[in-house]
Symmetry: C2
């Protein structure tokens, strides 16, 4: 056999990969195993490796410190014993480490840089033809979003009837030429005509997938991986518990070392009646056991939430359950779950027939702002009808809407807030102008500066006051900006002391930023 291969150095928080030749007889996915033990002055981490085809096994590891590491590779995959050393060098460029929960309701990179989530969703962009994938990356390179949700498995759904570029298993899919817009629903949960070996992965599928995780990492975008989902004609959502667990372990072994990975156990878990709460808890247990980095973990709902108080859930991944009132609930959900609130699905900008995909850009951006000032984070998606059924929400490609530029603008404003993260400043009913705020101001204050009264971000949404009176105190001077969140302008209203009036344009989607000088 040949020797193992690995680099002498990698950047801290990057993937260190050891490539090991091994047995290729029998079923290497099942019949052989590989593990790695990585040690440095500050950590000692054991991880599972995985079979990557062609007689090659791999072990991936993310060093959390910039220092010398040594490692040992063990397992039945080979008769030889392997070990080595490498150096983790300091992080550079946009490498700030993995994203963690910070200040209870917010996120920061491991180096302490605040992370204000502005996500999008392209469920199966990595399953599209390569030119379309490249187009998606080109669109994403504009910096509209810093998180994207997408699926490991391919998707079968309205507007999603074509076969993916690759399948995750060895075998043969059903004939998709029989599908029409009218009959496709009959094939959901009915995997007849498919023929898969659920114990032999198609490594090409995973290799291409993790290439895209890397591409996103370079763009500074978090990869919110949807590991299971119900939109399926191939049987991937109807595997046995043994097959599911086998899949979960393989997924974790391959992807966990990428610092930008977040785990989304499912999209719309409650549309998978074939999986019980015990199943989801078992997957979570596998994840907690096998992912040594404690990547962010959540699970996304359709009609009712998973119990986000479960200790393994790091943040709420929410699909709104009401048609009209959505981001306004951010405050309640923060209180109920005591965790970051990420509104991953809050209705998409678009014009398709489905009600979850046809609001205006204005309304979507309003929901982003409404959640932002309340200390939560909304997610984008776009579903405009397209002659070739290429919709950003599933396929990626180009954006045709109006919200993305405004979301980028919001992100810029959030990055300018002091400290880490906003919290909703709940104001009591004070008539007229006799308090700092009236009950209809939706006010975000930095959670690090709760009692300093030095910064307020006030958002009016659909309400259109032509002026507001504020009176914080009689001592300090405040600098006030009027922000048109739709037209993306910031206008200085002036500096004020005592009781003062701020003139406003009397139109929708206006914010006011107040900063103590």
């Amino acid at each position: 056999m040949n020797d193992i291969k690995y680099p002498n150095q990698v950047q801290r928080w990057s993937v260190f990969e050891v490539s090991c030749p091994g047995f290729s007889d029998k079923n290497p996915f099942v019949d052989y195993c590989i593990k790695g033990l990585f040690s440095s002055k500050n950590e000692s981490v054991e991880v599972d490796g995985f079979y990557d085809g062609d007689g090659v096994y791999k072990v991936r590891f993310m060093p959390s410190f910039s220092e010398k590491y040594s490692f040992k590779i063990t397992g039945s995959f080979s008769d030889s014993k392997n070990s080595g050393e490498f150096e983790a060098t300091p992080a550079t460029g946009n490498n700030h480490g993995p994203v963690r929960v910070a200040n209870q309701f917010h996120f920061a990179y491991e180096d302490g840089t605040p992370y204000y989530s502005v996500g999008t969703t392209c469920y199966v962009w990595t399953h599209q033809p390569v030119p379309l994938q490249e187009k998606t990356l080109e669109t994403l390179s504009n910096g509209y979003f810093n998180k994207i949700r997408f699926c490991v498995f391919p998707k079968h759904y309205d507007y999603n009837l074509r076969d993916p570029e690759t399948f995750p298993y060895e075998g043969r899919p059903m004939d998709c030429s029989v599908l029409t817009k009218e009959n496709f629903q009959e094939y959901v949960g009915n995997p007849e005509g498919n023929n898969w070996d659920f114990f032999r992965f198609n490594v090409r599928h995973f290799q291409l997938f993790e290439k895209r995780i890397e591409d996103l990492m370079k763009l500074g975008i978090e990869a919110d991986l949807i590991v299971m989902h119900p939109y399926d004609r191939w049987g991937f959502s109807h595997m046995t518990a043994e097959q599911d667990d086998f899949y979960w372990k393989y997924v974790v072994a391959r992807f966990a070392a990428y610092r930008n990975v977040w785990w989304s156990l499912a999209n719309e878990f409650d549309l998978m009646p074939q999986k019980s709460i015990e199943d989801w808890e078992r997957y979570a247990a596998i994840l907690c056991e096998k992912d040594p980095y404690n990547r962010l973990r959540s699970i996304h709902n359709c009609r009712h939430f998973y119990d986000h108080t479960r200790p393994w859930i790091t943040h709420c991944s929410i699909q709104r359950t009401d048609m009209h009132k959505t981001a306004e609930f951010t405050t309640d959900w923060r209180e109920r779950y005591g965790k970051p609130v990420v509104l991953d699905e809050i209705t998409y900008e678009g014009n398709i027939n489905h009600c979850w995909g046809n609001i205006s850009g204005q309304e979507l951006v309003r929901r982003f702002w409404e959640s932002a000032v309340r200390g939560g984070y909304s997610g984008h998606g776009e579903t405009y009808e397209h002659p070739d059924d290429v919709l950003w929400w599933s396929h990626g490609g180009e954006l045709h809407g109006e919200s993305q530029e405004r979301i980028k603008f919001l992100h810029k404003i959030l990055c300018q807030t002091p400290g880490l993260g906003l919290t909703h400043h709940q104001v009591r009913l004070v008539f007229g102008s006799q308090g700092a705020f009236t009950w209809d101001d939706v006010v975000g204050v930095p959670c690090d500066l709760l009692y300093s009264s030095s910064y307020y971000l006030i958002y009016f949404g659909i309400f259109r006051p032509s002026f507001r009176i504020y009176h914080f105190d009689d001592i300090n001077t405040y600098e006030v900006d009027v922000i048109d969140t739709w037209n993306m302008t910031i206008t200085k209203a002036g500096t004020f002391k005592g009781r003062f009036r701020v003139d406003l344009p009397g139109k929708e989607y206006i914010a006011v930023r107040v900063r103590k000088i």
Copy 2:
């Protein structure tokens, strides 16, 4: 003494008034009484009369049938006994009789003509200078609204600091020149400086007020009289129980005979902590005892509803209690209270600083449509800043907004619905196009034709589908119109059978009307 005066005939459902000379010594409001008993083949009604100043007492009566009536006037007001006869002639023109509850959740005039409420609010338009009152009537003559809410008492509130043209009592008000935008709130509930005789009404105030009730009647507009309210610097909201009851009886004696009168016991009753539920129930009992016509009765809230299940309440008069979700609750409130749901305050079109008065015309009209297809009725109000503080919501005058024309358009569509009143057709989640509707259609059906599937009014609000698939049955043919509720256009989409696709403009505020041929 002189003889009593009365006409020989009046139209059915009009005011028959008997004018009687009487004693003017002592305090005629307190020390003398007058009653009338009116009899015909079909009814026998006793009503209280009232002192109208200058030694004149009056008794008013609305005949409910077109037939001969006789009457007797009794009481201590005079030593003479009086009686007479008159003829009630058939109703003509826009006289359809008083509005009654019909089909449980709706309204109809007493002659059976459906009444689809499209209301507005000008709280104290009758207390403004006469030219402004005339301007209000001119605006109302455009037929935008068929109901208006306004107060018997004058109003003290932001934008409402001037004295009214007349006061309801003999006496002297506080000096209003001391009031400013900043200090006016201090005078609420603090009637110092006023000097009233709460047992001597200023009859001029009431005479002018009922002239306006008559003007509205001629325009076919219901007068939703707000008998009490908290916006007060004169002490009218802080009278004793005896004074309150005295006022209530006088109001009923004067106004009950006008067929277009509705009784609103209060605006924002819950902002009057000085009145208990027992007080409101006592006023209601007076009303039920003294108003022989059983005019519509309700009570309007601020933060929480009165118990609209109370038997004396004929319909819910609701101020929305949530900033964002308002008319969407119509379905719930209908179910909870089992009565007509009138959303009298649902945020006004405008741009003032107060959040209850600064939404767009689009959003207000959306709320009207949302309630309409759910079988409820919204109310209009307008609060645009004005150089002389003349805001439609309080003062009347001219309208500056965009919603009124669209409200008139909605009313026209409602008048074209078959039967009497819509009800929300609650649809179950059916994927895609496999049912008549998907869960996101908000569908109104005529409550008289619930099971005939012959008429649907579907409203999309902020949702912007570019098409919808419908499939009602395979037998009937349906005529489909696409209604742009904002641009007020009705476009024929065609006639269809079986499963069919309706192309839509993919913008906000679209409705679809489906009629079986």
